[in-house]
Amino acid sequence: MSVHASWYLTLAALLFTIGAVGLLVRRNVLVMFMCIELMLNAANLTFVTFARALNDIGGQVAVFFVLVVAAAEVVVGLGIIVAIFRRKVGATADDAHLLKG
């Protein structure tokens, strides 16, 4: 018998919070992206925990799909970052204000 599910959920909440605060605090675009990955992993942990708690394989299937979407998101996001850096050397998130009037 493993640890009760509420402990896993609390840990996932903590990871999600750290990722969210990091996304708000950091200005380096790549680190912000890593914080998004952190939040996705917290959600994955929640899915797996509920799969065990409710005895349902569907939670693990959801994690499978989240992994695929995360991979696609990283590919496109890093492509955008490379495209931005090609125009502005050493840009942070604050420098990407091309749409600002």
Binding site: S6, Y8, A13, G19, G22, I57, V68, G79, V89
Partner: protein, 240 residues
């Protein structure tokens, strides 16, 4: 439920595994946020992902743990490191400097609010009592077999849609990575000079990440010195 009752339900190895993996996860996550160098952040992210993989194994998700290690730490973090090295974003960022006044305080307050809400939800009732539609987790057969059967029967259409998503992502990445004006030979040269491999002192040389900005500045200064020396040598050649 009280904490001792919850802990008593778990065996000692399980509790120890959970505690160790949780510490690894939280330390890695804090490292991602607090490290100044993006390379160090990526390595801290690897630590967190490994901890999450351990927790997956602990909860009978063996296939997902393997995929987590292979896809996340093997592909995604390596992709991050490639981009960091390619762009030379090893310039250190002042983490503690505010862009807006009070930005960090507001971020912390918002984060604590999120934490309080999610913990509150996690500690109270969170099940509807509805029955499983995708099949039970326990029972005969391996984890991979059950997961595969569920994906290829119940979730077949989402799985196929996933392939379309991957194709779109690949095409989008190729379109984004294309240089604008590749077909015209006139636009190629200045783009090549200014874009891909900047030699500005602030940006640093690709791969000079670990020692930080000092080394990057030294590398830039070295390049400048070398060019200056070459220029002086050429000048001497001309005068002679």
């Amino acid at each position: 439920m009280s904490a001792p009752a919850v802990l008593a339900a778990a065996t000692i190895p399980d509790a120890v595994t959970f505690a160790l993996a949780a510490v690894i996860c939280v330390v890695g996550a804090l490292g991602v946020v607090l490290m100044r160098n993006p390379v160090h952040s990526a390595l801290a992210l690897v630590m967190t992902l490994f901890g999450v993989a351990v927790l997956f194994v602990e909860q009978d998700a063996q296939f997902l743990a393997a995929v987590q290690v292979i896809v996340y730490t093997g592909a995604i973090v390596v992709l991050f490191l490639f981009v960091i090295m390619l762009l030379g974003v090893d310039r250190r960022e002042r983490v503690l400097a505010d862009t807006f006044r009070g930005q960090r305080v507001v971020a912390l307050v918002l984060g604590l609010m999120v934490l309080a809400e999610v913990v509150l939800l996690a500690r109270t009732r969170w099940t509807t009592g509805a029955h499983a539609v995708a099949g039970p987790l326990d029972g005969p057969g391996s984890n991979v077999a059950k997961l595969g059967r569920s994906i290829f029967t119940t979730y077949l259409i989402p799985f196929e849609v996933t392939s379309a998503l991957l194709v779109v992502a690949v095409v989008g990445a190729v379109v984004l990575a294309r240089r604008p004006g590749l077909g015209e030979p006139s636009g190629e040269a200045p783009d090549e000079a200014s874009g891909a491999f900047p030699v500005a002192p602030g940006a640093g040389a690709p791969g000079a990440g670990a020692p930080g900005s000092g080394a990057a500045d030294a590398a830039g200064a070295g390049t400048a010195e070398r060019t200056a020396g070459a220029g002086a040598g050429a000048g001497a050649e001309v005068t002679r």
